[in-house]
Symmetry: C2
Subunit: 401 residues, 2 copies
Amino acid sequence: MSEFIPPATRFIDLPAAFPIKRGGVLHGARIAYESWGKPQDTHDNTILIVTGLSPSAHAASHDGDPTPGWWEEMLGPGKPIDTDLWHVICVNSLGSCNGSTGPASIDPATGCPYRLEFPELSIEDIADAAAFTVRALGIDRLACVIGNSMGGMTALSLLARHPGLASSHISISSAVHALPFSIAVRSLQREAIRLDPHWNGGHYDHARYPESGMMTARKLGVISYRSALEWDGRFGRLRLDAAQRGQDDSFGREFEIESYLESHARRFVRSFDPNCYLYLSRCMDWFDLGDAYGCSADQALARLSLDRALVLGVSSDVLFPLNQQRQIAVGLRAGGVDAKFLPLESPQGHDAFLVDTDRFGPAVAGFLADLRQHGMAGWSPLSRMKAIQPAHRRSGAACIQ
Amino acid sequence: MSEFIPPATRFIDLPAAFPIKRGGVLHGARIAYESWGKPQDTHDNTILIVTGLSPSAHAASHDGDPTPGWWEEMLGPGKPIDTDLWHVICVNSLGSCNGSTGPASIDPATGCPYRLEFPELSIEDIADAAAFTVRALGIDRLACVIGNSMGGMTALSLLARHPGLASSHISISSAVHALPFSIAVRSLQREAIRLDPHWNGGHYDHARYPESGMMTARKLGVISYRSALEWDGRFGRLRLDAAQRGQDDSFGREFEIESYLESHARRFVRSFDPNCYLYLSRCMDWFDLGDAYGCSADQALARLSLDRALVLGVSSDVLFPLNQQRQIAVGLRAGGVDAKFLPLESPQGHDAFLVDTDRFGPAVAGFLADLRQHGMAGWSPLSRMKAIQPAHRRSGAACIQ
């Protein structure tokens, strides 16, 4: 699966035996990462980015890899996340197929790919692996952890399980847990992959790859990532000309929107491992921030040790609807965090953070500028107090519902 | 496919050679219908109901078939559509599999099912067949035509192609044409069916039925028919117990919402013919009311011959969003129709008209009461003037864009 790894990606070896939350241990696992900018002598200018389901660690171009990254407009010298000022690390999630160890990686015990023998992965494991990576790079304190979509769940989990590691947080189009609509969409995506005969219980190869299942899963993803409103203006009822139509049968593509779905899915399917997709998708359904403390997600938010947070969401997002971002901000504020909630009117739905730099750029840049001005003089008394003990080692008795 | 036909359904034979809009002719076709109440001597109390994609003509119980129909709470003695007062006819759409001729019917020319040899069906054909059925039952004027979802498209097409047949209209959760989001959803549903190896280019049978494709299509349908808000309250993050979980593999069902989708889809798949599903689904993507007059859909609305209309929609509908119902009302008003737009706050999404009788009942009952009081004294000058010539025989030159 090495073709999925961007060329300048680097690696950190996880501990020889890396424990997995739901049981099992990974041996010889690694995390892929890329970085931009330089750490200051004061060790207080590092930002960690944790990603959504599919992105690699190549968030933006740099000297080692000039190809555009998935957040190219947001990250770089003079950009909203200004790498002339900040030292930025982006990690590829544990369980992914872009360099970090996952179901497509070779199991050292057998010499064969893990496939479904990979342990049951949780967001908490992804968070622990990201935290380990940061520390292995000599960083014991992050100025900020930024998480988009699934990455927002990873970031919340990291804050709960590694108090003291980050003093601020930008949460983008994420949630404390999944609600039924998004569970339904992801369940159907996973089912489409599993129904493809080529999936074969996880035992596919490049010659027999579950392409149609992955195409369906990705098309359903695109439908849920964007918004109807955007498509009305962009595609309307535009038809394809005869040459563009599918030749398979009389029910083939006729509308521009169908071609758009097809080309989006086509670009994705062979660049992502289906078993990795299943594992990471399931992580999102399982995650509930409340699990960290044995209490409700709202109560858990109030226990996170942070000084400042910016919570961004988009009104047209159907997968992680805006009230889930409001919930994060309100919950953090209840715990005394200076949390700003900024709902954006992007028409691009859940994917807006990838494309609507006009709205996301100034919001992120403003928060980071403020952080440089006021927030980098060390820990506030509040976050220091909360950071005494990590969430997963605390007794949850006080707040079990 | 006779098992799909409710026991008391009756039939009207279409003309020996029934022309199809996109080409071809159906021989020996028929339309299934059911009726409630009695026509008055004045011949002005008949209501026609045209349906969404899947319902049969059995909209409600009656002496011939006491089983509940798909609109049981709305239709019957003393109900919002009061069959003590109104004579109601519900037709099964041409192209369906609940008694009307469709792709699952026997082609008299070959003695075998049509399957994909069925002519390319349009909403206009469904409307023409419904209009023929009404007239064959001795009704030359309808007090009202009611259409839900796809049926709303059928009703608009009937009004355009058969001016003079109906003097009022209730449009429920429908549209003048499909927009990209709903086209995308339906395209993916059709693709899921066609990808199932059992579909086999339309040549399946009961032993090899494309069940998994139909399951995926129906689950995606249910996701788009309901609303996230309803599900948040109803299912939240409730888990299934071990006995309820799927036994197929470790990615099987875990959440209540997944079980809900599964049971909904399970009830549907063997009760509906997959080829009929493909044909009717495609009809909705193709339909554009503007085609009736060779002009825009808005201009077409203004040319419909009607006295009164009620346009209902639901704020949580993502498949036929509320602005599409607003468009219908505004367009009708531009043509001088007394059209009322009533947006409803149902949380149940597109399907609300099937379940939210508390909101839909009074709205429909109020419109019909008003119709009895004021609107049944014959045609207004406006609708008489517009009804001179049917839309498809008119020159569209005056309003081609």
